[in-house]
């Protein structure tokens, strides 16, 4: 199992073996949703935010 750095909080994120580009995973430390940009080597970026009215 490989690891990559969370772009939100900097923690190590454990990556499963059959990772695919475009997949959305979440960071176990901060909960941020992260998009897999590349798999070899693994590159993560913030996933697009879910557009939702949170009562505003």
């Amino acid at each position: 199992m490989s690891q990559a750095e969370c772009v939100e909080c900097g923690a190590d994120v454990s990556l499963h073996d059959d990772l695919e580009a475009g997949e959305i995973i979440d960071c176990a430390t901060c909960g941020a949703e992260l998009e897999v940009i590349d798999v070899s080597p693994p590159v993560l970026d913030r996933a697009p935010e879910l557009e939702e009215d949170w009562g505003e």
Partner: protein, 361 residues
């Protein structure tokens, strides 16, 4: 005594067993102590006292503990134990502490009676102190703040729930120097549930009056300001609202640092403070429905949730923290501190992970 009320990992069992009593067992935090200790692999509760319910079963006061084979006894007949937990109202323990130490090696007090380090503070914020010689002996219970001084402590002073929520939220910023006695302004707004008022209640706590309120019950001058200042070295502008929850304390801290702070600085501070803490969770704008600390998510548990957001336009950092006021804010904190004091696994007896979904906590 055993009852299947608390799911704990079996790996904490097999060590030394300590006898314990709970003085003031009919109150809400007394009930929470009994629930936690009943599932604690290293503790055997041999006595629970109550002046109002002497000779009645524990289940009479706490229906979730109906399986417990234990009856309340008179608080004037204290039995010898290893650890005595006192869950009495403020002002009782300071008058009884000599008696407590006559029967117990370790005393854990959940009231405000020993949580401030200076007697003068009791003159200013409470009604004075009748046993000030014990203040120097007392150790503040919150392990995230005072873990290094808890091993071997004989008198453990539980933190106040609103203060605990606030301290957990702000401590990483103090540790990193973002906040200090001369640095930055802090405004704290805490929302609390009705259990904070205790089991005896009063007119303001009756259901028709309490239901549905968002009531500023302490707009200024709340006693917990003294505790925050004593342990963080910060003066905060502090307001507390009573809201329509049974359990929970949710602190929103508006912080105005003197200099610029980045999101990376904040994550570094909070991860550094809490990443290895067994009961702290960082919840800060991530995915899912619950993106910031939420009392519902920690109800019944000893967990604390902390999160933050940056408001660069206003040069503000807003910090959120959520705890169960009776757990991390009282009974859970007391058991955690006792585990540290006795050298037991820190999470022993505190394994309950909460419920989801759940209604108003």
């Amino acid at each position: 005594m055993s009852v299947g009320t608390n799911a704990d990992t079996p790996d904490a069992s097999g060590g030394e067993t300590y006898t314990a009593s709970v003085v003031g067992g009919t109150g809400f935090t007394g009930g929470e102590l009994l629930r936690l200790l009943a599932g604690h692999p290293n503790v055997e509760v041999t006595q629970a006292t109550s002046r109002s319910a002497t000779n009645k079963t524990v289940g009479h006061a706490h229906p979730n503990l109906r399986g417990l084979d234990l009856r309340f006894s008179d608080p004037d007949d204290l039995e010898s134990v290893d650890v005595l937990f006192s869950a009495t109202p403020h002002g009782v323990s300071m008058g009884q502490v000599d008696d407590y130490f006559e029967v117990a090696d370790t005393v854990v007090d959940l009231s405000a009676d020993f949580r401030l380090p200076e007697a003068a503070a009791y003159d200013e914020w409470y009604d004075g102190h009748v046993s000030p010689e014990y203040l120097e002996k007392a150790e503040y219970a919150l392990p995230e703040l005072n873990r290094e001084n808890l091993p071997g402590a004989e008198l453990i002073a539980g933190g106040g729930c609103n203060a605990t929520a606030t301290i957990l939220g702000l401590k990483p910023l103090v540790d990193e120097g973002v906040l200090g006695p001369e640095t930055g302004e802090v405004v704290v707004d805490v929302k609390v549930g009705s259990s904070e008022g205790g089991a005896s209640g009063g007119a303001a706590s009756s259901h028709p009056e309490r239901s549905g309120v968002v009531r500023p019950y302490a707009p200024t001058g709340h006693r917990h300001e003294a505790e925050i200042e004593a342990y963080l070295g910060l003066s905060v502008s502090f307001t507390v609202h009573a809201v329509d929850m049974v359990r929970g304390a949710s602190a929103t801290c508006h912080v105005f640092p003197d200099g610029p702070v980045s999101k990376g600085d904040l994550w570094g501070a909070y991860r550094g403070a809490y990443e290895d803490e067994p009961f702290m969770r960082l919840v800060s704008g991530g995915g899912g429905v619950y993106r910031y600390p939420e009392p519902k998510a920690v109800a019944g548990t000893n967990h604390g949730e902390v999160g933050f957001e940056l408001d660069p336009g206003n040069k503000r950092v807003v910090v959120f923290s959520a705890i169960d006021n009776m757990m991390k804010g009282s009974a859970g904190q007391a058991v955690h501190a006792t585990n540290v004091a006795l050298g037991l696994p820190e999470t022993a007896g505190l394994g309950f992970g909460g419920l989801h979904p759940v209604g108003s906590p």
